[in-house]
């Protein structure tokens, strides 16, 4: 389960790091970050994007980002999710799903991770052709966008920690 200080632990802050006092001054922001994480990865109403698929997307995004701490964290979440065994091969971000719905979802997640600037209305049309619902398109964007945010908060903190 995700702890309130998971950003600190994902950033690899030492137990006695002075950065912990700095994070405490932004406790409200970190708390909302954790609530957001819950909402995108383990929501009460997952819609068409199961917690397993959400965790899979997080594993692939972390792998694309080359962030092995995040990747291990999300692989642990993924491997404990229902039906993960059937999707395990897709944890490799270069593998493409056979199922057209899942392929469209993972392709779009990959674009949001790597090159959102290239997004066009055609990407949304592609998702709709694969029968991804409007609500799931929004859920997918929020998930991929949260992961981009989290990866950068963690990367930035590691840089400050490394310089102290």
């Amino acid at each position: 389960m995700l702890m309130p200080d998971s950003i600190a632990s994902l950033a690899g802050l030492a137990a006695d790091s002075p950065l912990r006092a700095l994070l405490a001054r932004r406790a409200d922001i970190l708390e909302l970050t954790e609530r957001s994480r819950q909402a995108v990865l383990s929501p009460r109403d997952a819609g068409g994007l199961s917690p397993t698929v959400r965790a899979l997307i997080a594993v692939r995004a972390a792998a694309r980002l080359g962030d092995f701490v995040l990747k291990d964290h999300y692989f642990d979440l993924f491997s404990h999710a229902d039906g993960a065994y059937d999707l395990a091969e897709l944890a490799d971000p270069d593998k493409r799903a056979d199922d057209p719905w899942l392929a469209a979802v993972l392709d779009h997640a990959d674009r949001l991770t790597r090159e959102p600037r290239t997004a066009t209305p055609a990407d949304i049309a592609t998702l709709k052709r694969a029968v991804v619902s409007d609500a799931d398109i929004v859920r997918l964007a929020e998930l991929a966008a949260f992961l981009a945010y989290e990866a950068r908060v963690v990367a930035g903190l590691r840089l400050i920690e490394a310089r102290r």
């Binding site: 002075p18 950065l19 700095l22 994070l23 001054r25 932004r26 409200d28 922001i29 909302l32 970050t33 609530r35 957001s36 819950q38 909402a39 995108v40 929501p43 009460r44 109403d45 819609g47 694309r64 980002l65 080359g66 962030d67 949001l112 991770t113 790597r114 090159e115 959102p116 600037r117 997004a119 209305p121 990407d123 949304i124 409007d134 609500a135 398109i137 929004v138 859920r139 964007a141 929020e142 991929a144 966008a145 949260f146 981009a148 945010y149 989290e150 990866a151 950068r152 908060v153 990367a155 930035g156 903190l157 840089l159 400050i160 490394a162 310089r163």
Partner: protein, 192 residues
């Protein structure tokens, strides 16, 4: 149909969604709760009504965004806006750039810096403090993030303390989030 805006501007823009916004009179109690906390004077925007498709996330992201951008201590607001602009240039979110370049200009009562960024994008040459802030936001926003310890050292030299630097990380990062919604779920069009 009005053409989408693809160039940098500080004009007030409208946003046209690619997915159907939630209809306010059909919104569920949970969607209504998530929509309520968004600052809205006259009407709820199509952007927020699109995000209401995922009310659990909207409920937390709106206050998260506001706390990061409008925090009352730590990094000055203009520098947070510059962090937002850096991310939005990397991700080419024209709507986000317009809104936050406008904010930056209002806060600093200048236009030259924004004009330089519009012309030269991530290669813009700026005064030292603004350069350090902008370059850090640009590098952190890259895929994969490319900021280094040297960039942190430049921020320190420019007078940012660790809390200021963390606030800058947060403002660039939250725009990595906002850009991925605004630039991919719809497009900017001229207002009116």
């Amino acid at each position: 149909m009005k053409p989408a805006v693809h160039h940098y501007t500080t004009d007030v823009l409208d946003w046209r969604p690619f997915v159907t916004p939630v209809k306010l009179d059909e919104a569920s109690p949970e969607q209504r709760e998530a929509l309520k906390i968004t600052p809205s004077n006259k009407k709820v925007s199509d952007y927020v009504l699109v995000l209401a498709h995922d009310p659990e996330t909207l409920l937390h992201r709106s206050p998260l965004f506001n706390k990061i951008m409008f925090g009352t201590d730590g990094l000055d607001r203009a520098s947070r806006e510059l962090g937002a602009i850096g991310s939005s240039i990397v991700n080419r979110c024209i709507y986000c750039v317009a809104a936050h370049a406008r904010q930056y200009n209002q806060l600093t009562k200048t236009t030259a810096l924004v004009d330089t960024i519009f012309a030269d994008e991530t290669r813009a040459r700026l005064p030292p403090r603004e350069q350090a802030v902008f370059d850090f936001a640009v590098k952190l926003s890259a895929f994969p993030p490319a900021a280094t310890g040297d960039d942190i050292a430049r921020l320190s030299k420019a007078g940012l303390d660790p809390l200021d630097i963390f606030d800058l990380i947060l403002s660039a990062a939250i725009f990595g989030w906002a850009n991925r919604l605004m630039h991919t779920l719809g497009e900017p069009v001229r207002a009116g």
